[in-house]
C-alpha cells in the first residue's frame, strides 16, 4: 500500500535530486516512460499502459441520433472519463482528476478538430452519428493524460461503424449491418498525442510518477500531432523561455515516436481484420460445449465416495445412481 502522506525526507530527496539529475525511478531526467498499447477484440477498444503502473482503457461507440441545433451538419463527439476505484482505492469518486483529464482530452480532440465531424452527418439537421468514447482509468501512477490520449487515439483509429444512408426512394434510414457491408472507419484530420513534464526550478523531469507529481510544484503538458504541430500546451508554474523550447523539442521527438508506434500497431490490427474468417489461424475455442439433454439424463451421478468417470458423456453410462440424486433434489 502506498502511504498517502509524503514524507519530508522524500520531498527533499526528490527536489535535491532533481537539481542534480537524479530521479526516484530508474530513468534519466529526460527519459520517458515505456508505453504499451494493445487492442481488444471488439472494434474501437484500446488499452494504453504507461509502465509502471498507469493503465487506461478506452472504448469508442456510435449511435444514431439528432445533431445539435447549433451545428446541424455535423455529428457530435463526447468523451467521458471515469477514474475507477481500482486506481484510487476509495469507492467514493473524486471529481478533480476525471475533470482534468476530460478537459485535456476535449481540448485536444474536440476543439482542435481532430475528428472529422461532418462525415458523421447522415441527414442534414435530422440524423447524425453520435460518437462517444468512454475512458476508464484502471490504474494510476502519474501521467494520466498521456495514457488517456493514447488510448482515445487508438480507439478512434480502430473504430468501425456500419454504413448508414437515407434511402432515396422511401426517405428512410437504412443501416446496413456490419456483417454484410464494409464498415466505415472514422476520418481523423490529425493525430494528437501529449506528454507531460514536471517542473522544479529550471529542471524538467519527463513523465513523472505519482510521487514526483505530488511533490514537485509545476506541471507542463505539451501536445504534438503527427504533422509536428504543437496542438496543446498547459502550464502551471512560471518557466523560463529556453526551458519551454527545450521541453517542446523533447516532447516532439517523443510524441512522434509514440504516434508512429501506434500507427504501426493499428496497421497490424487492420491487416488482421482484413483476413477473411476462414483463413484465420484457428485459435482456442470460443463457443461453449453443446450437449443434448437426453445425454445428460443418463449421466451417472456420483455420491460422495465415488469419483465420477472421466469418460465424456455418452449414453452408455449406467443410470443406477439417478435415484440418489432424486432424493437430493427437491423435485
Amino acid at each position: 500500500m502506498r502511504p498517502k502522506t509524503i514524507a519530508n525526507c522524500t520531498r527533499s530527496l526528490v527536489k535535491g535530486g532533481a537539481k542534480n539529475g537524479i530521479r526516484l525511478g530508474a530513468r534519466g531526467l529526460h527519459e520517458f516512460r515505456t508505453a504499451k498499447i494493445s487492442f481488444g477484440n471488439s472494434v474501437g477498444s484500446c488499452e494504453a499502459v504507461l509502465l509502471p503502473g498507469t493503465r487506461v482503457f478506452a472504448q469508442a461507440s456510435a449511435a444514431i441520433g439528432e445533431p445539435s441545433d447549433s451545428r446541424p451538419g455535423e455529428g457530435s463527439f463526447t468523451i467521458s472519463v471515469w477514474v475507477s476505484p481500482a486506481a484510487t482505492g476509495e469507492m467514493v469518486g473524486n471529481s478533480e482528476k476525471p475533470s482534468a483529464i476530460a478537459r485535456t482530452l476535449e481540448r485536444m480532440f474536440k476543439e482542435n478538430r481532430a475528428v472529422d465531424l461532418e462525415s458523421l452527418c447522415i441527414k442534414f439537421g435530422e440524423l447524425a452519428w453520435i460518437l462517444r468514447v468512454d475512458v476508464h482509468v484502471i490504474d494510476m501512477n502519474g501521467c494520466l493524460q498521456d495514457a488517456a490520449a493514447l488510448a482515445v487515439l487508438g480507439a478512434l483509429l480502430t473504430f468501425q461503424r456500419p454504413q448508414a444512408q437515407i434511402d432515396i426512394n422511401t426517405d428512410e434510414l437504412v443501416v446496413l449491418p456490419l456483417a454484410e457491408s464494409t464498415p466505415v472507419e472514422l476520418h481523423l484530420f490529425h493525430l494528437p498525442a501529449v506528454t507531460s513534464f514536471a517542473l522544479c526550478d529550471d529542471v524538467l523531469l519527463a513523465e513523472p510518477c505519482q510521487e514526483e507529481e505530488d511533490i514537485l510544484p509545476g506541471k507542463l503538458l505539451v501536445g504534438v500531432n503527427d504533422s509536428k504541430e504543437l496542438c496543446h500546451l498547459h502550464l502551471t508554474h512560471p518557466i523560463d523561455q529556453e526551458l519551454l523550447l527545450e521541453a517542446t523539442k523533447l516532447a516532439q521527438v517523443q510524441c512522434l515516436e509514440r504516434l508512429n508506434m501506434l500507427k504501426q500497431l493499428v496497421e497490424e490490427v487492420k491487416a488482421q481484420r482484413e483476413i477473411p474468417v476462414y483463413k484465420r489461424p484457428k485459435g482456442p475455442r470460443t463457443a461453449g460445449a453443446e450437449l443434448k439433454l437426453s445425454a445428460i439424463e443418463e449421466l451417472s451421478t456420483s455420491g460422495p465416495e465415488q469419483k465420477p468417470s472421466m469418460k465424456y458423456l455418452s449414453p452408455l453410462i449406467s443410470t443406477s445412481d439417478v435415484n440418489m440424486l432424486e432424493e437430493l433434489c427437491i423435485f
Binding site: 500500500m1 502506498r2 502511504p3 519530508n8 525526507c9 530527496l13 530508474a26
Partner: protein, 260 residues
C-alpha cells in the same frame, strides 16, 4: 481424496496431513487432520481451526487462503502468500509518517494500511515529559511499535520499548522512505544471516535501514545517489524470484563500483 492426480486438482481435499503438505499449494476449504501426537501446534495466517460448538472439541484444521504451506519453529504452520495489504498486529514494528499534528496529546499517523485512525502519543518517546518532548513536524518518519490494545481501539503506536528506553524506535531523519509489498518484508527481516538481504546489501553499500512490518522501508546511505539506488534495488527484488537475488546483487555491486 488424497491423491492429487490431474483429475482432482482444485477440488476440496480432506484428511490431509500437515507435515506431508509442506511446500504445496493449499486452497481455501482444504481440511487437515489434527496431528496425533499431543504436541502443541500453532496455526499462522491462512489456517484456522474448526471447533465443534457443542462439545468444544477441535474438529479439523481448515485452510482459508490460497498459499504454500510452510513451517517455522516451533511447530508453527502457516500459509505463505504474496500479500500486499497489511493487517496491524500487536507488538509489530512499523514505520509511519506523521499526517497531522493536533493540539491534543496525539499525532495522527499514516501507516500505509487502510486504518485511518492510527495515533502516536506525544509523550511516547524516551525521556519525554510534559515540558520536554521532541517536536515533530508533519511529514516526519517515525519507527514505532504497535501497542497491545483490544481490537476495537484505534491503532496506537509508541516510540518507546516497554522497558522505557528507545532502542532504535523514534523519529528518523533524512534518508528515503518507500513501500514494498508486505510479503517481501519477511525476506528482509529473517534472522538467518545467510538469507538476510539487508546484510548482503550492507556489505556493498553501508546504510542505515529501518523496516516496518507494514511494508514501509527507510534507507539512509552516505549520499542521495546511493540511497536511491538501494531503494530501487529493493523494489526490484521484491518482484523477483528468490533465485534471482544473487544475480541482481552482483549487478548492483558492479553498478555501485562505477558510481563511487
Amino acid at each position: 481424496m488424497e491423491e492429487s492426480g490431474s483429475s482432482s486438482i482444485g477440488m476440496k481435499r480432506t484428511n490431509l496431513d500437515l507435515n506431508d503438505e509442506l511446500g504445496k499449494l493449499v486452497m481455501p476449504g482444504d481440511e487437515f487432520c489434527i496431528p496425533d501426537d499431543s504436541s502443541k501446534v500453532i496455526l499462522g495466517p491462512g489456517l484456522r481451526s474448526v471447533i465443534d460448538k457443542p462439545s468444544g472439541e477441535l474438529k479439523t484444521i481448515v485452510g482459508c487462503k490460497a498459499g504454500l504451506l510452510r513451517k517455522a519453529k516451533p511447530n508453527t504452520f502457516f500459509l505463505e502468500m504474496k500479500t500486499r495489504s497489511y493487517q496491524s498486529f500487536k507488538k509489530d514494528d512499523v514505520l509511519g509518517i506523521i499526517k497531522q499534528k493536533s493540539k491534543g496529546e496525539h499525532y495522527s499517523i499514516d501507516v500505509a494500511c487502510r486504518e485511518l485512525r492510527a495515533q502516536l502519543s506525544k509523550n511516547a518517546f524516551e525521556g519525554a515529559t510534559k515540558r520536554y518532548r521532541p517536536d515533530l513536524q508533519v511529514g516526519d518518519c517515525i519507527y514505532g511499535k504497535v501497542m497491545d490494545f483490544p481490537k476495537d481501539y484505534p491503532l496506537e503506536l509508541t516510540c518507546v520499548q516497554p522497558s522505557g528506553k528507545a532502542c532504535g524506535l523514534g523519529s528518523l531523519n533524512g534518508g528515503h522512505i518507500f513501500h514494498v509489498p508486505v510479503h517481501f518484508v519477511r525476506a528482509l527481516r529473517t534472522a538467518n544471516p545467510k538469507d538476510n538481504l539487508l546484510q548482503k546489501i550492507g556489505k556493498i553499500v553501508p546504510c542505515e535501514t529501518a523496516v516496518g512490518a507494514n511494508g514501509l522501508v527507510w534507507i539512509k546511505a552516505s549520499n542521495a545517489v546511493l540511497t536511491i539506488l538501494v531503494s530501487q534495488l529493493l523494489q526490484t527484488l521484491s518482484k523477483a524470484n528468490p533465485e534471482e537475488y544473487g544475480t541482481y546483487l552482483n549487478k548492483f555491486n558492479s553498478t555501485v563500483r562505477t558510481v563511487v
